[in-house]
Amino acid sequence: MKRRKERIDRGIKARSEDIFALSSYREMFYLLVPRAIPVVGLLGVAPFLSPYWKEVFISTAVYALLAISWDLLISAGLVSLGQSLFYGIGSYVAGALNYYWGWSPLFTIPVATLVGGVLCTVMLLPVLRLRGIYFAMVTLVLPLMLMRLVEATRILGGTEGLTGLTPFPNPVTSFYIIQIALLIALFGFRRIIDSDYGLVIRGINDNDRSVMSAGINIYWYKTQILFLGASVGSFAGAFGTHVDMFAGMPGFALDYSLLPVASAVVGGMGTFAGPMIGAFILVPLSEVLRALGALRIVFYGLFLVVFIVALPEGIFPYMQRKYHQFERWVEIE
């Protein structure tokens, strides 16, 4: 009796038969499990984390939000090297509202999310027509310019920043706020990009002239996506500001720009879940490596290279493929 390996793609069956998929519990289970993992993973771990790791988890989620925002922009062909612009603006808007007028985080965060989104969109509007690397360069430079502007003009607390801001009532509240925001962004963005609207967005990235000839104003759509991405980034900044009880020049730091890009590359671009997974590997890794002192960045770099060489498609697309395809031994003759 001979045996050979048979490869089955469950995904195609379950996905292509939409409605019918739900007719069997097994297939429903199969579709639900991957969606339940992030929910349980983000919300269920809280009681098991030490206060220190809870903090790490919070800052990881902030980076994950920035990474998801980055991924949304890239889906419309907008390469951002300046996620710190969104973070910094959100942080200053929330910080200023709290510092000068004493607004509670309950109001500063939603307002900073919207106002930050609008401000960043307006700032980038003139370069929205630039493609690829040109847009990227502007996003890279803008936050660094704003940082120097704050320093030179001494507005918004200058180099000292705005200190003594209202914190969240307790770490548990902030923990759940950020994890729930992350889940909303993750599932929301995935839903948007899978819709017909998302098809148009991806089309712009793929082949913008074809979308233009289809009677669609691609700059208006790019503006919408930019606003959405910038708002999510500004939310992260506003949230982070109240966690740190501080808004200042570090909000425009390069870390907030580069880590999201690295997370997206490691995790798998264009999937939203990938960049999130990437952030949940890279940020804690950087904490663990802290013990190594000066060598930290060397090992960090090594890890990055190993990830990218071993899984160039990204962690999430790899996992997704393996989940959908499974192999089994079958007997022949």
């Binding site: 017909d196 609207y197 082949n207 002239r209 233009m212 000839s213 289809a214 669609i216």
Partner: protein, 252 residues
């Protein structure tokens, strides 16, 4: 509509790229429901003229009117919303998407929404119907195949379907037949005739002169960006300037 005002009218449009004058002061008119052929050697400015009319390229001088309205320099999406659709000489599908999903993008346009009375309706169903109209066999499930896996013949039909999805009044087909076999051309001609029957005006850029002359009302010849002749297929081919232009070039 008003018969006195032409559907499309260009007056002395010119466009140069660097030092090259791609389109040199071209004027022409197109009536409602008319089929105009544009021919000319490679590099004579045919595609550039299409790009000028559809807003992908802005003219250096001249004027373009659609139904008497000056549309010179308008953005492509606004021109489409008036009812002008085009195909690209180089097919531009979304390669990773199934063929029918390619049509979702034009079906999402404001023009389609407006014509449908504010509702988009079931885009997937409309897309599948459109593909069937341009000859995608429904039983063979070709419409569900990824565009990247389709042969050139289907990609050209897909390109045509994308322009038809916009429910245009004027369709501009840029070398739709090039790269296709005689049999494939023969199968697409009836689709174009059907579009005419629906009253749409058509501009066809073609190298297949025999097929073009059979269906065109009128033909215009470009050479080095200039209009050198205009008339019926027979008339222009007897024109001295046209003969020289075609003898002087390597193609055809």
């Amino acid at each position: 509509m008003n018969d006195l005002i032409p559907l499309l009218k260009t007056s002395g449009v010119s466009k140069s790229f660097g030092g090259v004058l791609a389109v040199a002061s071209v004027s022409f008119e197109l009536k409602e429901g008319e089929l105009l052929g544009i021919i000319g050697p490679n590099g004579s400015g045919k595609t550039t003229l299409v790009n000028l009319v559809t807003g992908f390229v802005k003219p250096n001088s001249g004027r373009i009117e659609y139904r008497g309205k000056n549309i010179t320099g308008w953005a492509p999406y606004k021109i489409v919303s008036l009812g002008i659709a085009r195909t690209f000489q180089m097919v531009r599908p979304f390669y990773q998407l199934p063929a029918f999903k390619n049509l979702i993008v034009p079906l999402y346009s404001p023009r389609v929404k407006k014509l449908a009375g504010g509702k988009y309706g079931d885009r997937d169903a409309v897309a599948l119907d459109l593909l069937e109209e341009v000859g995608f066999e429904r039983d063979a499930h070709v419409s569900y195949k990824v565009a990247g896996s389709l042969p050139q013949g289907y990609l050209k039909r897909l390109e045509l379907a994308k322009s038809m999805a916009l429910r245009p009044d004027l369709v501009i087909l840029d070398e739709l037949f090039s790269g296709l076999s005689l049999a494939e051309v023969a199968s697409i001609v009836p689709i174009i005739e059907k579009l005419r029957f629906q009253g749409k005006a058509i501009i066809m850029i073609e190298h297949r002169l025999k097929e073009l002359f059979r269906i065109a009302d009128r033909v215009m010849v470009l050479n080095y960006g200039k209009k050198i002749a205009e008339g019926s297929g027979k008339e222009v081919m007897e024109d001295k300037a046209v003969k020289n232009a075609y003898l002087g070039s390597e193609t055809e």
